[in-house]
Amino acid sequence: MKVGKIIKVSGPLVVAEGMDEANVYDVVLVSDNRLVGEIIEMRGDRASIQVYEETTGIGPGDPVYTTGEPLSVELGPGLLEAMFDGIQRPLEEFRVKSGDFMTRGTKVDNLNREKKWNFTPTVKVGDVVEEGDVIGTVQETPLILHKILVPIGVRGTVTSIEEGEFTVVDEICVLDGEKRLQMMQKWPVRKGRPFKKKLNPDVPLLTGQRVIDTFFPVAKGGTAAIPGPFGSGKTVVQHQLAKWADTEIVVYVGCGERGNEMTDVLMEFPEIIDPATGESLMKRTVLIANTSNMPVAAREASIYTGITLAEYFRDMGYSVAIMADSTSRWAEALREMSGRLEEMPGDEGYPAYLASRAAEFYERAGKVICKGSDNREGAITVIGAVSPPGGDISEPVSQATLRIVKVFWGLDHALSYKRHFPAINWLNSYTLYQTKMDKWMAENIDKDFAKNRAKAMSLLQEEASLQEIVRLVGRDSLSYEDQLKLEATKSIREDYLQQNAFHDTDTFCSHAKQNKMLKLVLEFYDLGMKALEKGVYLKDIEKMKVREKIARSKYIDEEELYKIDDIITELNGAIEKLIQEGGILDA
């Protein structure tokens, strides 16, 4: 291939001429340090290249070598538990080779080439396989059975297949006597992996977070966005979802955020034990880190790298959740590159194609029937954090995101200031999956769940308007019914919606527990109203001892849910007693 020559360097953007043989989106190696870069624009024989590493010391005249390949990730055993940078280079190997900070031009293989995996074939000689078929499996971690798939575009009859210990590049299977397959395959990150058919997402993703699962559920295969100002808990919500979401695989993309947040993930995840399997949660997690001090161009790629890995696991028939924290930093990386390319800026300097790029990313989510003859179903749920400056979501990144995603969890600074966590504002958040999720809840959890949810939500909405009156003329001017309503919504807010991410029991709440707790807090309102009607004093209702137990019901273990039923019984008894004592029964 022809070698190009650099004529301009502007931060991570390098312009080289003599590149007429290269194509846009090809990976190139810049200068004799062989820094990885990608062509993002071609004009005549001039290529604009975004370089994924520090470009200090590079100048005009330096050579540019074309590889003729698009930016690709390597897919195969070895992905789980690992931490990669934005273009899938393993950070651990980096550390071994070059110390705590990345040295440029270090060459490492994306997947470990030496490690041997125990490959068990699932097809035999003579079987006809098509693209996406499973030819064998590797027990990558105790949690995840890594399925080795026939690469896209390959089909044929198995003429030989091996069993035993192999590295990812060893030949394990031959099709038609000539197509040699290894465990590893490559896929360009900017291209979505194909599937047979997209399905309508209809199963909720259990996140264990009450405000999300009850009020704003996201479907498996859906898309959600978490916009919020600084310090409102975006990262904690993302971590909680990564920890507790009931998906088989989690891909966590730390994109332009603080390094210590990734450290938190690295420190905390191995300690959390998945209750279903007794294994560490890290064993189902892939981390992609491009922290704020890492090269900005790789930040742009990290999102695509992440979703391509997610798609690979989806194609195995797994349900995958990908968290991107935060897509604003990714958009800022786009803006930086766009500025250096001297493109015409759009809103707030973001490139005009911001919305289409964001859509491209989110549209790779979905529940699909995967390629392959066994019609397995896989799903990718995308959850993106957005950090709008000043918390004002009328900025381009938030708006571009909200146009695509179906669930919006609006974090509220006022709530986090009040120490109400998760600080998801119940008045402006929404989900477009509600009807489907209600149906699923009715079939699988409780037929009254949707009714209770709607009731709790309408109480919360009424509370907002009552609060305005309270601010004007004081709480005492409200009727007793309205004052009780305020008490009940306070209970919904504090006893139900607030959830402590750092409490052993409260950090995760199953659907069954949510259902019972919701019933409990609503029962307090219903019975309270009944008592008021019978002439019981509001003060006596407010002072009931059992209310403390309602407040503590969130700390009841998942195994002891009958205790919540006991509290409902006790509440009924207490109200009965109040009516007997203070009510006017014979009126």
Partner: protein, 105 residues
């Protein structure tokens, strides 16, 4: 037939017994709980005006407040035979202040 409300008076025996002469129903009570129930019961049984002595009313502020917002019954505080505690007049003053903005009495 015109719908008629009844008038009741609640208080200690010495203070309220004389109301009988006026045809007002007299209910004698001596402690808070008893008074509270009595007021609630009267309110539910078609009493339009309930007089209550300040001494008794001071024991059950919640109950008195409860009927503040309702048109019927009117709970009116009266002094007892031991003199006045000024609660009644204070309440009137407060209401006037709320209604017209300053105390014009």
């Amino acid at each position: 037939m015109i719908y008629m409300f009844k008038v009741g008076v609640i208080g200690d025996k010495d203070s309220v017994l004389a109301f009988k002469a006026l045809g007002v129903h007299v209910f004698t009570v001596s402690e808070g709980d008893e008074a509270r129930k009595m007021v609630d019961t009267l309110a539910r049984t078609n009493y339009g005006v309930i007089f209550i002595t300040e001494q008794i009313a001071s024991l059950i502020p919640d109950t008195v407040e409860r009927y503040d917002k309702e048109i019927i019954p009117a709970v009116i505080l009266i002094p007892s035979n031991q003199g006045t505690l000024d609660i009644g007049i204070r309440r009137i003053n407060e209401n006037v202040e709320k209604a017209v903005g300053s105390n014009i009495l």
